[in-house]
């Protein structure tokens, strides 16, 4: 998506782009210019402190906490008579305060909520005291990936808080966090998290490299990163898994995957991923393995049903009536007797209606959304059938298909499933079942071509990895999962030492 941007800009680096974006280059280059620029904002405070210590404090009052300022910075200034910045630094009980005259650093820190102390307004040497106030919502329960059992924490927008959630669950020093800042204007902090000694270095380097290569002015959410670092940005399939559950991220880190946490986004990304991972939910690990397997298979069936049911309806009713057994034919033909449209039109009308309802439901506040769902589902559906616009059978099929597409545990792939069925419908209208086959063939080829951070996306199906199949369409018990998935090429693949596991006891022992 952003490839063309890269090409156009060519070798121009960050700073050049910024020059074009911000015309105020001149002002920024001088110390006074910087303060002049900041002074344009109403919330930038320049406070001349008088009394025992004479100095000038400047800060953004919307970024720095005034309570912190009153409690920690002002008292020592009032109490002591200080003449140098060094002395102030000594007396102010705040960690990581430092003195500098580096303009770049000052500029960077002032917009992060540091308080600048100068002895004189003309001075170029300043003391920087971190006083950032972090306001954000508190940790709440996961809403997108809700699970009945299991942990009920979800990420929030604050990167440090999210890292805290991850680190709490993985208390080992090997858990490594590398940080990069992306976005020429937003300067978004992005943390790359992995377990050193398990995660493959090649994967880590690929991720860091791709993050470094990003050229864009803003990174608002982790989904920006998903699209920008994906191997094929024209694909409808997301190539990194996004999740709002810290437990899920930790689970994948332990497998050797790499987590990408973006500041300001309550969704973390994990790479490399595979197509099967999108259909596994964290619930699968909280249930006994046979139940989990059964539910996974039901979900897999749901996906196929959701994608294929309406195309098959079109194909069979348009071209292959012979396939319907006589008893069933009576039901279908009686329900379709009054319909003036061919199957394809009928299907497209109904599918679009459902998509409309879904889109409306997603945009509206939750209370109204429910009402819309009921109005749409019951009133419009029944009315459409009674008016003779669509058949009962199709209404059931489309509603079931929509329902089935909601079973996807990951929201992103749900969107893909929603849209992928339309090419299939077109294929079905052109050449019936053969058209559906052809469409599926194209998608298979596409999936086999796809890669996630250079690792095959269609694994463990192709390349066929029998070991990884233990946790793909089915989930075998934990004691069968002796090794970490091969997909990530983990440095250490053994999950536990099988020899330490007690052998089976004989009868009456």
């Amino acid at each position: 998506m952003f490839n063309w941007l890269k090409k156009k800009k060519g070798k121009k680096d960050n700073r050049d782009t910024q020059k074009e974006l911000l015309k105020n280059k001149q002002q920024e280059q001088s110390f006074q210019g910087l303060f002049e620029l900041a002074n344009h904002s109403k919330d930038f405070v320049v406070y001349h402190h008088t009394g025992r210590t004479k100095c000038v404090l400047s800060y953004y009052k919307t970024l720095s906490g005034s309570k912190f300022l009153n409690d920690s910075i002002l008292p020592p200034l009032k109490k002591h008579t200080l003449f140098t910045l060094e002395d102030i630094k000594e007396k102010v009980p705040v960690e990581n305060a430092y003195i500098t005259n580096d303009l770049k650093k000052i500029k960077e820190n002032i917009t992060q909520g540091f308080v600048i102390i100068r002895l004189n307004e003309k001075d170029e040497e300043v003391l920087l005291i971190p006083a950032t106030k972090n306001e954000g919502r508190s940790i709440s329960i996961p809403e997108v990936e809700y699970s009945v059992v299991g942990p009920k924490e979800a990420f929030v927008e604050n990167l440090d808080q999210n890292m805290n959630l991850i680190r709490k669950r993985l208390p080992i020093p090997e858990l490594t966090m590398r940080e990069v800042s992306v976005g020429n204007l937003t300067k978004t902090r992005i943390a790359v998290v992995y377990v050193d000694g398990i995660a493959n270095n090649e994967n880590v380097n690929t991720v860091l490299q791709r993050l470094d290569d990003i050229q864009y002015d803003q990174i608002i959410d982790s989904s920006f990163i998903t699209q920008m670092i994906s191997d094929n940005s024209n694909s409808p399939f997301p190539q990194s898994l996004d999740t709002e559950r810290p437990d899920r991220v930790v689970g994948t880190l332990v497998e050797g995957k790499i987590g990408i946490v973006v500041d300001g986004s309550p969704h973390a990304l994990t790479v490399p991923t595979t197509i099967t991972e999108f259909f596994s939910s964290s619930d699968d690990y909280f249930l006994p393995w046979h139940l989990a397997t059964a539910f996974r298979l039901i979900r897999l069936f749901a996906i196929f049903f959701s994608v294929l049911s309406t195309p098959l309806y079109v194909a069979i009713l348009t071209y292959h009536h012979e396939m319907i057994p006589q008893e069933l034919l009576a039901t279908i033909s009686s329900s379709r007797a009054d319909i003036p449209f061919p199957p394809i039109l009928e299907v497209i009308i109904l599918e679009l209606t459902i998509e409309l309802l879904r889109e409306a439901g997603a945009r509206l506040p939750s209370k109204i959304g429910q009402t819309i769902g009921i109005v749409g589902g019951i009133v419009i559906g029944t009315a459409a059938v009674e008016a003779g616009l669509t058949s009962n059978v199709l209404l059931i099929t489309v509603a079931l298909a929509a329902l089935a597409s909601f079973t996807t545990p990951v929201y992103q792939i749900g969107n893909t499933v929603r849209l992928v069925r339309f090419p299939f419908i077109v294929g079905a209208q052109m050449w019936g079942l053969i058209g559906v086959s052809m469409c599926m063939g194209i998608f298979l080829g596409h999936l086999m071509n796809l890669q996630s951070i250079g690792r095959p996306f269609f694994a463990p199906l192709y390349p066929l990895r029998f070991h990884d199949l233990r946790d793909a369409f089915i989930r075998l018990p934990f004691n069968q999962q002796k090794k970490r998935p091969m997909q990530m090429r983990p440095v250490h693949s053994a999950r536990f030492n099988p020899e330490l596991v007690k052998g089976k006891r004989d009868i009456d022992e």
């Binding site: 012979e322 396939m323 057994p325 050449w431 019936g432 079942l433 053969i434 194209i442 080829g445």
Partner: protein, 372 residues
């Protein structure tokens, strides 16, 4: 992909493009099972009658021997068919023979494609827009071949997995059939059975593509057993298919059935669906697709190796040829003719393998003596 095309010799294939020996099973099996299996019963029963199952077994045995020879030829030269030809016949004559192979694979592609489209025309869409369908079909094949050998291999894998459940449908005709049809056993002469063998060998064509993709196998020696297993598996499937057809049809009836297997799908019936041949033919798309893709890949790879031109250009050219020629065959007689011509050439290719085997063994002997 880039690295791949930049190595002009073509034999130094980057590690990440190699396939593990297991996939040789899927490659060979997927290539051997094609449109032929939909209607081969009639052809082999023409001469050997219902003793044709012996012909299939004999044919299978022959294929095993030929496969063994191919492995010997390739191991001696440590390359593909192009390097084998170059070693034996020299640069120009060898190159010529290699290009003949390329054309043969293209012909194979054409035959499979046209036969499958004919099946669709006869069974599903009598008024199919031939050119449009061919165009879309070849476009899909082009997409796969362009993605490279690894993806084509993956397609073979998927194809085998998808096609296997269809085998379960054989259960329905067995229920309806009459085992007495098979008796009396062995009432045909050796000559008749051998003529049937000749026909059945042609159904097993496709394994010779090993001559082209051999350098792509990571540990060629380990792939031998997989390749033989694939041939064994194919022969078993053909055997089961033939016997089920013989049990269901009487000998006289079978002569008038063109597509035995498809006819058998017709009787499959579930409470919610019947006339299974529609699904069968649609599913057969996944069997035909790797067939065509792999053959077209091989056909376009040989000119790249011989003439040192980019494979994508050859592929584009061959795809266009495929579309144009495919649309020129419009009636049943012409397609039948195409099939018999391809079979004949296929037979020559099979006969050529032992010749190549002997020549390459002599070459090795001569070279060893020269060195000694």
């Amino acid at each position: 992909m880039n690295k791949h095309s930049s190595s002009i010799e073509g034999l130094s294939i980057p590690e990440n493009l190699l396939i593990t020996p297991t996939y040789v099973f899927f490659l060979i099996h997927a290539m051997q099972v094609g449109v032929g299996i939909l209607g081969f019963e009639t052809y082999i029963a023409k001469y050997a009658g219902f003793d044709a199952w012996i012909s299939i077994l004999l044919g299978g045995l022959g294929i095993h021997v030929l496969l063994w020879m191919i492995y010997h030829i390739l191991q001696d030269s440590k390359g593909d068919i192009v390097s084998v030809h170059k070693n034996i016949f020299g640069k120009y004559l060898g190159g010529f023979f290699s290009l003949m192979f390329s054309l043969y694979f293209l012909l194979l592609t054409l035959t499979v494609l046209r036969s499958y489209i004919e099946v669709i025309e006869v069974w599903i869409f009598p008024e199919l827009q031939l050119w449009l369908f061919t165009f879309v079909f070849v476009l899909i094949v082009y997409y796969f071949v362009k993605s490279g050998f690894r993806v084509v291999t993956g397609l073979c894998l998927i194809s085998v997995i998808l096609a296997l459940p269809i085998l379960l449908l054989k259960f329905f005709p067995i229920l309806e059939g009459d085992v007495m049809n098979l008796y009396p056993t062995v009432d045909h002469s050796v000559g008749e059975i051998l003529r049937g063998t000749q026909k059945s060998v042609l159904s097993f064509l496709g394994f010779e593509l090993l001559l082209v993709f051999y350098p792509f196998i990571k540990n060629p020696h380990a792939s031998k057993s997989w390749a033989h297993f694939a041939v064994f598996f194919t022969v078993s499937i053909y055997l089961i298919t033939a016997i089920v057809s013989f049990v269901y049809f009487s000998e006289g009836q079978l002569q008038y059935v063109i597509w035995g297997t498809i006819t058998l799908w017709k009787i499959v019936e579930f409470p919610f669906i019947e006339r299974f041949e529609y699904i069968g033919i649609a599913m057969w798309f996944y069997v035909v697709l790797p067939n065509i893709a792999l053959a077209l890949w091989a056909a376009s790879r040989i000119p790249k190796r011989v003439l040192k031109i980019k494979q994508k250009y050859v592929l584009a050219l061959f795809s266009i040829i495929l579309i144009v020629v495919c649309c020129m065959f419009t009636d049943r007689q012409a397609i039948d003719k195409l099939n018999s011509v391809t079979s004949k050439i296929g037979l020559y290719v099979l006969l050529y393998i032992p010749v190549l085997f002997v020549l390459s063994k002599i070459m090795v002997k001569v070279r060893n003596r020269d060195e000694a």
